[in-house]
């Protein structure tokens, strides 16, 4: 289907984009790669009066690194992460995640900032960045703020992003040598939306173990019972992990049916096995 009519502008910088978002009588949306938003527009699921194209703003492509962190600008594409075109703070996790997002033609345009800002429940980056302990950098009319991705994403297509705010990028802590990670997702065919995804990260430097479940009915969330079990047990017992998963699922995806609970249990177990392999 063709989308309903809308206006389109392409501001030269972030300040101009923020100013353009301040049109209270209109439904205004940012667009970067457009690989999710243009689908929603074509299906006429998201009414928009004005698209503000931020996909070519240089500041949003900023990439920088320190000894402890890598900052990826919001307009970094999945393909750039897949191909190693930007520094990898995650010892191979992020390139692998990127390579399994949708299809190459989508990955050439879709951006990490767009993925997190849209907050589709089945998106890979919100869950992955939560597991890595990343922080979002956001700028709006009132200035700049920083917020952990775990707090930034609040529900299905829901974030703390306020009208007029733009995600600048993500500050991602480097995994230290010896860190262990595992990731798994279930899709009905490669590249399709996930039915479940799980990330396990054990940094091994005293930081808490992180276990994140994505593709729930609402949004990616930590699984504290599983994380606590892993942090207390070097030798793991599958039956005990299954109990911990069941306890967490009652909280993070309470409406999941038996099939969906099996999907979630499978991805968590696979991610743990990979991390502990």
């Amino acid at each position: 289907m063709k989308s309903a009519p809308f206006d389109y502008i392409r501001p030269k910088g972030v300040a101009e984009a923020i100013a353009a978002l301040k049109q209270e009588d209109k439904s205004v949306s940012l667009i970067a790669g457009g690989q999710s938003l243009l689908v929603l527009l074509s299906l006429r699921m998201a009414p928009v009066d004005l698209l503000v194209d931020i996909g070519r703003i240089d500041e949003l492509k900023t990439v920088s690194e320190t000894s402890t962190h890598v900052f990826l600008g919001a307009a970094t594409t999945h393909a750039m992460i897949e191909d190693g075109g930007v520094p990898d703070p995650s010892r191979g996790l992020m390139p692998r995640v990127a390579s399994a997002i949708a299809y190459r033609a989508i990955r050439n345009h879709g951006t990490i900032g767009g993925s997190v800002a849209l907050a589709d429940p089945a998106a890979d980056w919100p869950a992955c960045l939560m597991a890595l302990g990343a922080t979002a950098a956001i700028r709006g009319p009132a200035g700049e703020r920083r917020e952990a991705v775990t707090d930034f994403v609040q529900g299905m297509y829901t974030t703390t992003l306020q009208q007029g705010e733009v995600v600048l990028g993500f500050d991602i802590p480097r995994l230290p040598a010896g860190a262990r990670w595992g990731a798994a997702k279930v899709t009905r065919k490669s590249g399709a939306f996930a039915s479940s995804m799980a990330f396990v990260i054990e940094r091994g430097d005293g930081a808490p173990v992180r276990v994140i479940l994505g593709a729930t009915a609402s949004h990616a969330q930590p699984m504290p019972a599983v994380a606590a079990y892993l942090s207390q047990h070097d030798k793991i017992d599958e039956a005990e992990i299954r109990s911990a998963v069941a306890a967490d699922l009652d909280v993070v995806d309470p409406a999941a049916d038996a099939y969906q609970r099996r999907n979630h249990t499978a991805t968590v177990l696979r991610a743990i096995r990979e991390a502990r392999a």
Binding site: M1, Y8, I31, Q35, V39, L43, D53, G191
Partner: protein
């Protein structure tokens, strides 16, 4: 209405478009380039795949306005391309075509696969091709044709 200038198959062109016009509609309806096929019009089938700035792109989920100043190459613009010549021949010989609707997108994506993976395994081809929907062939002959084209190109470049 918006005015955009973009390079289409090496030819710089200026067009006046509605902001909502996707690249595929500009090419088909204003440029007469109907080799780009529109199947689903929402990024699910891959039929409209072409290249923007040298990168595989679904032309139904990119606005023509977003391509202002960029370079677009369609299946028509790949007529004399070496990889495409080899791919076309193997698609023909191994019968990687039935109705032909998905074929332009398949060929563009196949070329992209061979540029990124020199001699891809069947598993790699199937993974990389999973975004292209074909309702006729069952994919087996398409996968075989891409593998055969990769092998021939690899021999020709004397690796």
């Amino acid at each position: 209405m918006l005015t955009v200038t973009l390079t289409i198959n090496d030819d710089e062109q200026t067009h006046t478009i509605e902001p909502r016009t996707v690249l595929a509609d500009l090419l088909r309806e204003q440029c007469g380039l109907t080799g780009t096929h529109l199947g689903c019009e929402h990024g699910a089938c891959g039929a409209c795949t072409l290249e923007v700035d040298g990168k595989a792109t679904r032309s139904c989920v990119i606005l023509a306005a977003m391509c202002d100043g960029r370079s677009v190459r369609t299946i028509e613009g790949l007529h004399d391309d070496k990889i495409m010549e080899v791919l076309r021949r193997h698609f023909h010989q191994l019968h990687g075509v039935q109705c032909g609707f998905c074929t332009p997108g398949m060929l563009v994506m196949a070329r992209d696969i061979l540029r990124r993976h020199r001699t891809p395994s069947e598993k790699t081809i199937r993974h990389e091709l999973s975004g292209q929907v074909c309702r006729c062939t069952g994919y087996a002959n398409i996968v075989a044709a891409i593998g055969a084209a990769g092998a021939e190109l690899d021999r020709d470049t004397g690796a």
